[in-house]
């Protein structure tokens, strides 16, 4: 099911990119197009498997650090609603609390 979600998100991202005339078109630099599409697909799916798939394709990719953090967060807490930053923004702390809200430095 997660694979289908990943596939669907990937196709959706590719379709959106193509319709918007984004660098996904054949004239744009190869690699950049594919990586952006794969990244969008991974984010759309939002699963550990999707981000692992991105890292397998682009181990040195532009979003490899973000993908790594997604994987860690989702692995430690599969129910976490992980939302990364917009492009160019810093990724601040993500907090989740269950029960009493307590914190320590």
């Amino acid at each position: 099911m997660k694979y289908l979600a990943t596939l669907y998100a990937g196709l959706r991202a590719l379709m959106i990119a193509a319709l918007a005339g984004s660098p996904a078109s054949a004239q744009a630099p190869v690699g950049t197009d594919r990586e952006a599409a794969e990244w969008n697909a991974a984010r759309g799916a939002g699963t550990v498997e999707a981000f692992q798939h991105y890292l397998e394709l682009y181990p040195l990719g532009r979003y490899s650090g973000e993908a790594f953090r997604y994987i860690i967060e989702l692995t430690i807490d599969p129910d976490a609603a992980v939302v990364g930053p917009e492009a160019g923004r810093e990724w601040g702390p993500s907090v989740s609390t269950r029960g009493l809200a307590v914190d320590m430095y």
Binding site: V30, E56, G65, D77, P93, G99, L100, V102, Y105
Partner: protein, 534 residues
Amino acid sequence: MRCGLVGLTVITFGLAACATPAERPPPIPYPAPTESSPAPTESSLAPTGSSPAPTGSSSSPTGLPEIGYLAPTGLPPASGSSLVELEPDLVVGNVVDRLQQSAFTVTHLDEQAGHVVVVYSGDPEPYVNCGWIVAYETGQLQRIPAASATASFDQAVEQDLLELNRQLRLDGRMIVDLEPEGRNTVVSTDTTYVLTKIVDAAGPNGGSRGQTRETISFKTGESAKFSKGTLCQPNGSFERVVLDSLPATSVTGTRPRRAVVAGEAADAREAAPMAGEAIDVREAPLVAGPAPLGPVAEPQPRAPTVPSVTADGLEAQIAAITAGLTCAAVDTEFGPDNTVRLSGHVSSEQDLVRLRQSLAQVGGLDAVETDLEVHPWPFCELLAVIEPYRDREPAPEAGLALKTADRTTLFREGDDLTLDIFLPRDARYLYLGYVQNDGRVGYITTMPVREWAEGTGAIRFETGFQISGPFGREMILAITSARPLFDQPRPAYEPAEEYIEDLRQRLRELRTQDPGASPAASHVFITTEASRAS
């Protein structure tokens, strides 16, 4: 006559009765100190107020420790590249051999393209610096590295006594990029650090009351904060696991990684597996499942390094090592034949040992001479705060200098504390404080001094205080300024953390307000002992 005590819980303010009138200028008109600054008790050991204790008061009626936080000082080591006098294929072998001996796991290896990706999951403390968690309890000061994998604290939350179990986990992912440059190789590293903090609250009966989980991430040369303010940054050791295994000869600065397209990476990975290599080179799975936090993996002892040959590389390696120290100031002086002398101070004996061990791992150093003192917190941070205001070579006619009257630094219980203070010409006010080794700062006096010191430049000041416990290494601080250092009198005793922040801010304000008459600071360390009779 016992007019006051130094290094104890009580300071009285009968200074005039103890001092020679000619030596005692009138105190500046603060409110009567005995009213505004009552004799301190243990409840005066207040932290910054940022503790989650419910009342927010400075006292701790439950007797629980008050919790404060001290952020790391200094910037994280910057990213860089090293030029290695080996061809890339040999470098790959060195790197992989080294990583196999460590707690790292290779998740991607492309020998042809010169790419290695490694991950680490486990104890953060060897690789990141998050400052200290400071706990005050019944007069005792405890410092816990905030990068510790586990720590427990008792806290009163909503009128319940809860045990807070704090766990911190590091997941790091480092890309090692090897680019040929002639017959040499440029080695670059870029690490993503993901820190996960989980705080579990357990009630008096041990049942779970709640959990807070928080994740931050940063890269080499960066830092990030948890929402409570805990600042974490790399200490450079992660990258050194790779770089220390190589005969690095020079640092070439930050280099952008080459763009790698998916097809290239995938093809190369399939085309060049390591024969007989047991390393799992897949990126997935990085984490096998919902991983328990805690010390998952311990870093292994470092392998011997290959000697290096040039001073540039040595300088960069030593700079990276010293940059990872917390609350330290280390000057590096290179001599002939790859010798180096380190001077300054570090904050603990452990740091000194680690520093020496790290230096021993630097290949190519023929001799290392360390002239380093150990100044634990709060002394180390106070030294950093006053550093911009210190006169390196104070002379009686030129700058502020503080000495004990008979130049001794060893005092015994009951000894009078008398100081010689050499004042700068533009000094109008003098502030004296006393910093104890239990993490508290005592207020000695603030006084106008311009007319008093005119024509002499120096005063002998009988403080009226006598030495008593707690004993140990302590610090006397003198600051002169054109305006009173503090607008309000300081408490007789206060936590150093609070005091340091106020001092740092006030010194900056005074310098900004009147750049031509910047404050001046000086200090002297003394050692106090119990009397032989006791």
